[in-house]
């Protein structure tokens, strides 16, 4: 069984992702940015995860595989993950908008599984 833990995921804008939109969504800059999951070094240590290790995030509505990078300084609190908006983060959203037109796109409950062995990169 892979090691699993619960987190709250915050997808959001980053300037790298914004630059990537103009450079082209199929270019490496954009793809790398939307595939990188930020985690505190405290959580990384606790789960034995090194930079670049791949993990699986599972929400009520979908699952994705991403590479972990440490968050900068004290930017993230423990127990919170951050990922740039994009194809991958959207796969974890549900179709229901609760009468608002807006799917719940931030503050998503996810289960994180540390993957046993490296897997090929997920592509959009």
């Amino acid at each position: 069984m892979p090691l699993a833990d619960s987190f709250i995921l915050i997808p959001g804008r980053t300037s790298k992702q914004g630059v990537g939109i103009s450079e082209g969504k199929f270019q490496s800059g954009y793809q790398e940015e939307i595939h990188a999951l930020q985690m505190t070094s405290h959580d990384m240590q606790r789960l034995g995860i090194a930079t670049g290790d791949r993990v699986r995030l599972i929400s009520e509505w979908g699952s994705i595989e991403v590479a972990v990078v440490p968050s900068k300084g004290d930017e993230l609190p423990v127990g919170i993950l951050f990922i740039a908006y994009g194809d991958l983060s959207s796969r974890l959203m549900g179709g229901d908008t609760h009468g608002s037109g807006m799917p719940t796109s931030k503050g998503i409950d996810v289960r994180l599984e540390v993957m046993g062995c490296p897997t090929p990169k997920t592509t959009g």
Binding site: I8, I10, G12, R13, T14, S15, G18, V19, S22, E23, G24, K25, F26, W61, G62, G73, D74, E75, L76, P77, I80, F82, Y85, G86, D87, S90, R91, M93, G94, G95, D96, T97, H98, G99, S100, G101, M102, P103, T104, S105, K106, G107, G124
Partner: protein, 448 residues
């Protein structure tokens, strides 16, 4: 002095060009243009520079039908056929094109009795709902620049999403009533992460995720000096009541307070209730001092989309025109819902990328129906489209009008002409053909 200069070495300089990458819509950019390429964008931020320097003319056909290059006329014909024969067609996107194109798209929606929705529904749509319930105490960015001495960013990270927000409008400028610029202002950031913006603030308040509603109502209660249980406040918001009390004292002392709010509120559980709480707090504060609020809008002309759809239909987004008159109901007529519920049987997507940004059920349904896509760039949405138009870029090749995030209309000053058609021209072609197919007599000149 003219806006455009040519120094004789084929370097053209376009002064005061408008950047349409984000809702700041900076209209002070000097562009250096060589042929079909912008080589320098003076005063643009990192996002604006990437926007201007990466929109050269790409060697791709202007029209693809079923993935194959096709004459433009064939694409227009196929698009019109799809829209005219659909039973529940959706028109969606619109936030990255001119008001002139938005207007034509709404007209098509009207002729075909379709749904018209914009990317507002998945950014500040919940705020749009809240405006209708509470109202908005608002201001232009010029007022903020000249008067705002207390600037609060709530669930918004302009340092990454609107990089010139601080320097051009909200924090750094020396204003009419703020001669010392940044020193005369207090900046507060409320967020779940210590973002880049938080690092520029005087006070950072880290709240628990999904607790914006509770935090905003705490402030509403404190504004009225209502007794609160300090332990409960701290447990719910993750922040000691003393911090909220201190913030309220500062807010009341401000001469002109401003709250900029972002998708940290609208995309999180609570959505329109979160925005409503913030609008109500702003309204409450006007009993004590002047306070205004503004959503930080993302796309360059998403505010124009709200304006155009409102003045054409009476509602800002999520409009159903199927009965011949407009009906508004977010959650029922919004794009994400009609796709995820598999209701729409055709779509026209203008300048947005739902195949990358929508939920999986919505994407799967969109991929299963005929749809038309417009974009200057190749995206997952254009790749799956039945008809894809590769169009000229607004602001860089195409003139027109856009609205800044504070509802101020701004003209575009294009840098160079494109051999590609504008979405405006293609949409006009589709509108004409749709009317012919539906047997709608062209309007007399001047009445359209």
């Amino acid at each position: 002095m003219s806006d455009t200069e040519d120094n004789g070495l084929s370097l053209k300089i376009v002064r005061d060009a408008t950047c349409t990458f984000c809702g700041c819509v900076c209209d002070d950019i000097d562009l250096h243009v060589q042929g079909h390429k912008i080589v320098e964008a003076k005063r643009a931020c990192v996002l604006g520079t990437a926007w201007f320097l990466n929109h050269e003319i790409e060697d791709r056909p202007s029209c693809l039908v079923e993935g194959q290059p096709a004459p433009l006329a064939d694409g227009i014909e196929r698009a019109a056929q799809i829209l005219a024969t659909a039973r529940y067609p959706l028109i969606y996107g619109l936030s990255d094109t001119t008001c002139e194109s938005q207007r034509v798209a709404v007209s098509i929606g009207d002729w075909i009795g379709g749904l018209v929705d914009t990317t507002t529904s998945v950014c500040h749509g919940p705020s749009g709902m809240a405006f209708q319930n509470v109202g908005e105490v608002t201001a232009t960015l010029g007022e903020v620049r000249n008067r705002g001495d207390m600037i609060i960013f709530w669930g918004s990270n302009p340092a990454e999403s609107h990089p010139r927000h601080f320097t051009k409008y909200s924090l750094m400028p020396k204003g009419m009533f703020l001669p010392n610029g940044r020193k005369d202002r207090t900046c507060v950031v409320v967020d779940v992460r210590k973002t880049k913006s938080a690092k520029a603030a005087d006070i950072f308040i880290p709240i628990k995720p999904r607790k914006d509603f509770e935090a905003l109502w705490t402030l509403r209660a404190l504004a009225q000096d209502l007794p609160l249980d300090g332990d409960l406040v701290e447990r719910e918001t993750g922040v000691a009541i003393a911090v909220w009390q201190d913030l309220m004292v500062r807010m009341k002392k401000a001469r002109y307070g401003v709250i900029f709010f972002g998708m940290g509120l609208t995309m999180t559980r609570g959505k329109h209730a979160n925005s409503e709480a913030l609008l109500a707090l702003t309204r409450d504060m006007n009993r004590y001092t002047r306070f205004v609020c503004k959503p930080n809008r993302g796309h360059g002309n998403v505010t124009g989309a709200d304006n155009v759809v409102s003045w054409r239909t009476g509602y800002p987004f999520g409009v159903n025109l199927a009965r011949g008159y407009p009906r508004f109901n977010p959650g029922e007529y919004t794009a994400s819902d009609v796709l995820a519920r598999r209701e729409a049987d055709a779509a026209m997507i203008i300048a947005s990328d739902p195949m990358a940004n929508f939920s999986q059920p919505a994407r799967e349904h969109l991929a299963s129906i005929p749809y038309i896509a417009f974009d200057p760039k190749e995206t997952p949405t254009t790749r799956h489209a039945t008809v894809a138009f590769n169009v000229a870029t607004y602001g860089i090749n195409v003139p027109g009008t856009v609205y800044r995030m504070d509802d101020v209309p701004i003209p575009l000053r294009p840098a160079f002409e494109s051999p590609l058609p504008s979405d405006f021209d293609v949409l006009q072609g589709i509108e004409k053909r749709v009317r012919e197919l539906l047997g709608i007599v062209p309007a007399a000149a001047g009445t359209g």
